[in-house]
Symmetry: D3
Subunit: 250 residues, 6 copies
């Protein structure tokens, strides 16, 4: 099986982290590759960035259209461009956020997300709301330490302490039984945080790889009748022509 | 007051319809202008199209950054790129979908959306869910006649009959007390449909213009502390450099 | 256009505040008038008061039945008697609470209401719940400073400080990105509070005037098929005979 | 124990039906009395009527302030004036709608309301929503046969057949496991309908009497700290002076 | 009328408390009996315990199948085995949790549960969610003092102080207007706590007895068409054969 | 990796189906075993059956306590005894219902469950509600063909046609984009139904195996701080002594 991870940020160091996280959990026989868009923003931290990142995700899917890929994983919290990617790709696409939320719901009744920039909580909220996990009382209020995304790996020593302290507040004050790390750039802190906090600490990239394997082995792929049907065939201007999916060109 | 309407589709005929709808309801002293992106898709009918349209909306906001515009209206059902546009623009941005939903809630307890392509119901649902109008039992199930967006003005004679029949079903079967037309390209059918159906029939572009005037006169603009703060300052690649907002360049 | 504001409280000083707030935002060509019931309570601060105020609202609508009014605004937080007023009036009726909530949703992802008496939070909650803005995670917990309604204008100097401090808590502790002032008597504090807090601060009366203008210009009025149909024709006892609407006498 | 039923409609025949329904289920030692307002409308069928009926409910509570009453029941679907009555009365007040809904939830997973005028569904919905029974998936869509309230007892022979047919649709099409009769004037049809439909058929007045007995025996009464605190002491105009509660005059 | 209380815990001291609570509120002519399973766990404090307790509840219903019982009450917070008991018993079955929640909703807009072990909050949440009282904003976050269930009666002096302090926090910090005691073993503290806190304090066993009387007098019993139909007739192994209901043996 | 499937029904033919479904999708190196309780009911079709089945699930977990099992899967729609099993087992436990729902949410915006006995819809609803997928508008109304559970494999020829017709109604009338088969005994119909319906058709057992592999590879197991902490240490009567978990004996 071949799972390809798309890092919607242009920072290659994040791609490297994604690859390491994925390879650590991939099943025997699963190949992991990763890429990031050639053009975009170094880190996605607002809706403006997400709009750019979504084009990058589509560009990568189009660029890889002849590769024998079995599933894509989108490695940015908020699941940048997920719905469009599901339409464009011929194989399943998994967002790291939805995967992390589902994994959390399988091991805990109540859980929290701890993310980096405070303003990105609205992106996490969007995924939580689309699943209903907030209304069901499962996903508790989203917490943030309000640091830039790239600090997740450039300032590792201090970030892990800050994240751990915030996770501790989620556990003690909100009643969280598990913690989701709300950024691809901090997923590598999951293992040490799980050890120190003694609760499940969940990295979305790793869980998304497992979800992708599950779908592929179960012969399940994106439903084509309705919301995620292939993009409609229509004229497209030059600037966006490179985004055209393979099977059903727009 | 100067309100600029962005038509995220590249079809100029839609822009013309938007302009007419807006001018018909603008208050004395309000100037209306309209534009569409130079590059994009002729009609937005899926999430893939929306990703492209969002870039177009941002491109228009950037292109117009030196114009004395008081508010923007996004004239595509689903409110293409709205969150990013709120961050990028220095003035309020109103989506036609949210405006139509609010107007409906001011005149009816229960109301329905009737849209064109069935698959775009997921875009309308996203806006409804973000306001909570479905959970509150106000917005009834979204209906579609499953015709292409551009038929709204190119096949007017048949489209209005089809829409009217579907609206009648919403009224009779679902209990709708008002109807929202779920596409910018059919807003000009609102008046005749209101006359024939004898219930309020709502065009999002017209109501969005009124909402924009309301915000501007009340000296209200997008909140800058949190979800819709200006985009963060960071390097941006050449392909997207033209999207940079004016006041707080990325 | 002629918009008439009904102040359901009998305190004329509140009517004067409503008039000033409305005139400050009305579009060119819009005439604003205001009145309060001849009989009632000086300030509406509980459900018992609301029951009395609702009769006052209906009495004003009946008294003004021959006036060329285009829309009514109800100027009391909680939107006293709104559903009955919609049935009774031949033109649109806008509640200041629903208008403020919609304006907030157009400029912020998350917002709070700060009101005066703590016990009136249940009235605000009723309007929030009817729109779904709480379930959608948009409207945060309602806050109150627990002062009498009339202190809003009789004790201005201290009230504005108290309100500002409570709004600050909503911003800092709850994550509010905008603030709604939950009482007609404190709407005139919106501008200075917006200046000092640096977030949108919303007055319901002003926004309701804008909403009324929007509906009238869009040729939208209360849906008559269903929940807000005109009152049924039936015998009515002497005590309430003066409430009879014009077009469809009970 | 003395339970007093307030029929918010002025039709004495409805009061007689309420009395009979209550006496049939009252515990040994419980005295039932009933009254209707001296002024009002013969039947409450819209929000305009409800505003008038709420004053009637308060008038009755005030008129009876020296009687040794242990609890009040409000006998009109929609629970006319319930919140105000809770503030005004010194003893528990139970609405027939909330009581019926709770009884239904104790005997069935899913249940429906069948009411008379279609437009009154919004009143039932308000009570359902305030309890959350719709969001929880327990209370199914509200059905109506769209007949006037007074037909419930004046046209008994046909009404019971029409109600039974509609209830059958709720059972067969919606999956209702129990039926609530959504009007005080049709409660006496519950027993024969239960016999013919073979599902629980619930009359709100009867169940409200049982709820009132339960609260009184458990020494529970309306919470006074917060939403239902006694009305505030304030000047009240002559028209409404007779509504003043006993213990804490306004 | 004969109401039988099933204490799903095997601790006889809890049964004695249940009996006393019930007898104190039973109507004239109501006989109360109580029993606990012969086999089980002394106190139900987790889902593992609940699974065992549910068998105990079914065993008691089967053992008592020839007794002239009119209704059962399940006296353990979380309503152990309630759905299965409804199927198995030929008469209504009331859970103490659902009864307490309904009583609270009749006397207060907002209310809280204060329970003993923190981990049992998930059981209370299950009942709250099944009614929708959390989504409706009525039932506030569940609080716990995190003491063992049996401390409720063995360490009375300290437990009541601890519970009272926690209830005070629910009132002061969360806005609770009434308190539900979330364990059968602390119901006898309701009266003194109500006296000291000056808000309604609700014991589920007492309110469930009242609810049972209400259903029986109203001739309402468990709906048999659907979710709570009698158990299907099928072979059952020896270990569970004693659970067979009377009327419709499995 | 060793995944053990517990079939809570005592019918060995169902265990065989579970084993086949699991082995077909297991990753290289994953061993699958399956067992059913020694005592119980042949098929779980109501809450009474579920109570018995839950004991069977706990009995199997206890019986296997010295086996090197990495995760358990519960193979009965409704996820019999899941919460108790999570407490009792030292490794992750996955319910087939939650797994199927999550898989559906990864490939479709809207999806339906089609189950066998109509009355078991309440069990499926419980799992849907606990995740929030109904409130979020993702999981559509649950459909049933109302046949006994065991017909799923004993009457294969007719059952698959009946299920397919019902799934078709879910697609055409409700807008389902994917179908979940709501019973372990019909999972083997997923592949042919997917081929004939041309939408994703999901078997919970297969997807649960994939979820179990995902959790194990990601080093995630049941959160022990809170709702799913190990059962409390306490005396347990002889009838249930065999259920004692290994690590933390009750």
């Amino acid at each position: 099986m071949h799972i390809h991870i798309i890092n919607p940020n242009t920072t290659k160091a994040l791609s490297a982290l994604d690859l390491a996280a994925a390879q650590a959990v991939a099943a025997p026989g699963t190949t992991i590759t990763v890429s990031e868009p050639a053009q975009g923003v170094p880190s996605i931290e607002c809706s403006f960035d997400e709009a750019i990142g979504a084009i990058g995700v589509l560009a990568e899917i189009a660029r890889l259209k002849d590769q024998p890929i079995d599933a894509f994983v989108i490695a940015c919290f908020g699941d940048t461009g997920l719905a469009a990617a599901r339409e464009a790709a011929g194989v399943p696409v998994i967002g790291m956020t939805e995967a992390a939320l589902m994994a959390a719901a399988l091991v805990a009744q109540n859980f929290s997300i701890v993310t980096l920039p405070a303003r990105t909580r609205v992106h996490a909220h969007r995924v939580v709301a689309n699943l209903g996990l907030g209304l069901a009382g499962r996903c508790l209020p989203i917490r943030a330490v309000d640091l830039p995304v790239l600090h997740g790996h450039t300032e590792e020593a201090t970030v892990i302490d800050t994240l751990t302290a915030e996770a501790r507040r989620a556990i003690d004050l909100d009643g969280a039984e598990a913690i989701i790390l709300g950024c691809a750039g901090i997923g590598h802190h999951a293992a040490p945080m799980q050890a120190s906090l003694n609760v499940p600490v969940i990295d979305g990239v790793a869980t998304a790889v497992g979800m992708a394997e599950m779908l592929v082995r179960c012969h399940l792929s994106t439903a084509r009748g309705g919301s995620f049907a292939r993009p409609l065939i229509k004229p497209i201007d030059a600037e966006f022509a490179h985004l055209m999916p393979k099977e059903n060109p727009c």
